[in-house]
Structures are given as C-alpha cells and as structure tokens.
Symmetry: C2
Subunit: 333 residues, 2 copies
C-alpha cells in the first residue's frame, strides 16, 4: 500500500476561491463577508476525479493525507478573524472530499493563524477538525507573516499550547508556509524551501523534544536544504554543543519525498535514516509539468523511490509503515 502524506486540494471549486477574495475585499472595506456559497458534491467529485484521484490511480497511490491548498492559507491577509472563517471553510471542504472518497483521502487541516496573534483559535480549530471530523494531522505555518518572519522560532513557548494539543490528540504537524508576501521570495521556489531549512535549524538550536517527547513534525519538500547539507548540520550541532542529530531531533522530525528528481531522492535516502522518510508527492502542486528527460511528471515521486537503492522492506517503510507510525490516526493497515 502507498500512502501519500502530502496532498493539497489545489483544484478546489472556483466558488470556494472566489469567496475568499470576496471575504478579503469585505474585510478591507470593513463590511461583513458574504455568505459562503453552496458547492455541490458533483463539483467536488469532478475536481477530484479529474485531477488528484486520476493521477493517484495512474501512479498507484492508494491513500492521500489531504489538506487545504497551502499557498491559499494566506495567513498574512485579512487578520485572524478572517483566517478563522477561511480555515473553517477550507477544512470543511477537505472533510467533504474525504467523505466523498473515504478510501482515497484522509483530511488534514490548516490552522487560523496571524502574525502576532495567540494560538487559541488555531487550537480550537484543530480540536474541531480532529475530534469531530476525523482529521489526522495539521499544517503549521511557522511564518504567518508570509515571508517577513516576524514570529518567534518554533522552539518558543508561543507555540507550546498547540504542541500540547497535538500531543494529546496524537496528531503530527507538517511545517508548511503559505504564499509569500515578500517580493524577495518566490513562494514555491524559495519561501517553501527556506521555511523547511529554517524550521530544522530552529529545532536544532533548541531542545523542544525534551519538553514534548511525543511531538512529531514533518518537514516537507525533502527537508528543504537540510539533507543536502547534512554534514553542515551535524557539524553545527557539534559546534553548538547539542547532541547528535539522531538523538536530538530525528526521533521527532521527518522529511517527505517531495524532491523532484532521482539524484535528490537518492541523496535523501542515503543520508537520512529510512525511519525518518515519509512518502509524499504534493501532486498537482508546485511543479505540475512533465520532465522532458524522463517523460514523467516531475512530481511523480513514487518512481524515484522505486528506482532508489532502498530494498523492499525500506520501500514498505517509506510508502506506508512510517506514515502510519507518524500519523497514528490513520489506523492499522
């Protein structure tokens, strides 16, 4: 069985996306947002069957942890109150996807966040999603400012209430930023990878998992720059007087396989213990084209894992067992 831990609803019905635009316009003008539109099941089915489900079937992916479109979380836009309403709408929509395709999609939530705001609303939305709608994970934005990086590091007590809820609910977070509000950073070409790298280094500098030994964080996009610079991080841990990465971080930190070429996946699997690698593709996401060198989609990451040096047991770990271990609410096979 193959479980993709990193899918987003990037093809949501136009009415959903349009409502967000109308909501932000309303916030800007100080008036109430319009009512959220009625969206028929048929529209949802069509948007999924012709995109993610079609590709998942073609690629032999059985189950996808499916969350709202990351770039549309837009935590830098509209303030916390708007983010609460938008997050509920987005999470309700992915819950409907999971309800319509219960064998293919399991929902993960986005959180209402805004730079400088406390996390009470985020915790409440997480509880609503997990306790009442069967969500199995969340996306945590370490930079709700959208590229200005005004929030404290992930090791700061600012985040602890959320971590407590995560531990209690036994759900992992994927550390995933949203769109870039900073012209210096292209979203998927710089901001995403920078955030992955930044998060890992914040964790390396701190001692978060001594306080939260069961907390689990998935750093997407193959861990940003980290595996490529694994020697740098091992050396920095040493210079900073921290324990080795294996004991300091790698019981709690996991990387997905959203690395879109064979040499990258080979590097990831050669430097990071197989226990810490979870299959992911982020398909119909950042890079949607076909690689002219292979004739296959860049984001068809199953091919790279299959062609890697992993043995059968290792592939089973990456494709299924590790994902189930990190996302226990997926249940047993």
């Amino acid at each position: 069985m193959i479980i993709d831990c990193h899918g987003h609803y990037t093809t949501a019905p136009a009415a959903h996306t349009r409502w967000r635009e109308e909501q932000l316009a309303a916030v800007g003008e100080g008036r109430p947002a319009p009512a959220y539109p009625l969206i028929g099941d048929d529209e949802i089915v069509e948007s999924i069957e012709s995109n993610q489900l079609r590709l998942a079937r073609e690629r032999g992916i059985d189950l996808t942890v499916f969350s709202p479109r990351a770039s549309a979380m837009g935590h830098h836009e509209g303030g916390l109150e708007a983010s609460v309403a938008w997050s509920r709408a987005c999470n309700d929509l992915v819950a409907r996807v999971a309800g319509l395709f219960p064998d293919a999609f399991v929902p993960a939530c986005q959180l209402p966040q805004a730079a400088g705001e406390p996390l009470d609303a985020a915790i409440a939305e997480l509880r609503r999603c997990v306790e009442t709608m069967g969500f199995v994970a969340l996306n945590l934005d370490p930079d709700p400012s959208g590229g200005h990086w005004t929030s404290p590091p992930l090791t700061d007590p600012h985040w602890f209430g959320l971590y407590e809820a995560m531990c209690e609910l036994d759900v992992p977070a994927m550390v995933h930023v949203s769109a870039s509000d900073n012209p210096a950073f292209h979203a998927t070409g710089a901001h995403y990878l920078n955030a992955d790298t930044t998060a890992f280094m914040q964790l390396l500098q701190g001692d978060l998992f001594a306080r939260f030994p069961t907390l689990r964080l998935v750093i997407p996009h193959g861990g940003g720059a980290v595996p490529y610079h694994w020697g740098r991080y091992r050396g920095l841990a040493d210079m900073l007087g921290q324990p080795p990465l294996e004991t300091h971080l790698m019981r709690n930190v996991f990387f997905d396989t959203c690395v879109y070429h064979q040499p990258g996946i080979d590097l990831l699997l050669s430097v990071v213990d197989v226990d810490n690698v979870l299959f992911g593709s982020e398909m119909v996401g950042a890079v949607r084209g076909i690689d002219p060198r292979t004739g296959h989609h860049f984001d068809d990451t199953r091919r790279y894992v299959e062609a890697s040096a992993l043995d059968e047991a290792g592939r089973r770990q990456v494709f299924e067992e590790n994902v189930r271990r990190v996302y226990p609410r997926l249940g047993a096979p």
Copy 2:
C-alpha cells in the same frame, strides 16, 4: 593547482574587531568613531599562519580568494556611513594579508551596503579595491537588512549600476549575506542557505543575463538548496515560461563546493555541469569541527571532490580552471 574561491578572514586581529564595536557604539551615541588602531604585520602573519595558511598547506590548497569575514559585514548595523568606513578597514586588512602572502591569498572585497540606500558607495569601494589594490572579486549581500529581506530582488534595476561596474572591471560577485538580525534565522544554519536558494530563484524568475551577458555570480554553499531540488527548478523554469536553466542561468551562475559531506558533493557534481562548479571550502568558517565519521574536518572539501566520481580533467576544472575562468583577474596559471 588548487584554488579555493571561498575564504574569509575569520581570524582577524582582535583590535580590528574591537574597533568595529567601538565604531557602532560611537554611532549609537552620535559621536565620531575612534581612530582605527595600528595593527602590526606580525599580528596579521600570526593570525594567518596559525589558521588558514596552516590548514591550506595541510590540505594542499595553493591559493585562496580571501575576503573579509562575511558574518561581520553587518550591513544592518550602523547605517551606510559606518559601513563605508568599516568596509574600507576590512578591505584594507585583507589587502595586507594578500600583500604579506602574495602566493597564497588574493583579495576580494566586501561592499558598504545598507538597506534602502543606493549603491554608489559600494561601486566606489569596488573600484578602489579592484583598480588600486588588485582585488579580483567582491561579496554582494542580497539582503543588507540582515534577514528581513527588504531589498528588491537581484534582478531589479536597483543593482544595475553595480553590475555595470562589475562587467567593466571583469570581476565576479559571490552572493553572500552577513549575520542574521532576525531571531527566526540562525546565520550559518539557515540565513546563508536561504539566501543562496533565494538568489537563484530571483535569477530564475528574471532575465538579468540578457541585459548583462558577461555578469558572473557565484552562489556559495553549494547553491543552498538548489542542486538538491534541481528537478524542482527545472520544472519551475518550465512552468514560468523561462528557458531551460542551462541557457537561462548557467552561463553566468556558479556554485562552490562548500557542502560538508560526501553525498552532498556527489549530488552537486551529478546534477550541475562541471563547468559551473568552483572549488571552495570556507575553512575556519561556519563549521570548524572534525567529523567523527571521517576523522577529518567537515570543511576539508578537497577530500570530497577527490573522492567523487569526477575524472582527472573534471577535477582540474573544479580545482583551478573554472575558478580562473570566472575570476579572470587571477590571471593565467
């Protein structure tokens, strides 16, 4: 012959570093900075012979392009006027190193920069260094705010005057940030690599080398996250309607070998054309310890290049020929 394109004077005499502290204190209090201290040649000789030169001899590195300590450029501190005086002091000091060890070190300059300020002072300092002191290159800070990323992308006309001077003088720039003023970013563990990744993506989005076909930019630390995600960048170029990376960027963009483990160097050399890889170590820099797995310094990058799959001709390119081509003021062998 082996030329290291990435060395910094990280062991400058204490009086030099102390003067910077005094200068910033004076700026803060609105009084003139004290006079720059007298520093004897013996102090400089000692600081080099016991550190960079000793290690270079042990490792068989013949020549190093040597610039002021990157993390101490501190473009976010003190304003432009202080940066002018500090940059002159730093550049004069590396010029003295090169004068004392002309067979081992060739100078590259830091620039006086400050966020929101024009580049006239930077261009004047570049001209002073190259035209009157024999410098062969410069370090260009794409984020003089120190991690707030308030400057326009490297493709913006803001930078064009500097590029014109670089082309006229035929000197390359290493795109290198300084210390982080943002608690989200550890300097060498996040900010450096993020800047490398960010710079590459800015260049990918733009069309800078159509306007400056002879401009050459070296992206250090193995290109940040870029080679590890080479498939993502090839795919993004396609999605953004840009030409392939090879023709769009790789006639003008080069990566050094500051990647501190064998799998990272192997990946770099397997995905990036050998023409675009320049030997660098940044020794006595970000990661100074010894890797317990190898018994050698993490930053002893010659070993990784030697142990890679490169043939003899490829090694000659990386170790010497490419560096001379990108830094023509080094002269012929």
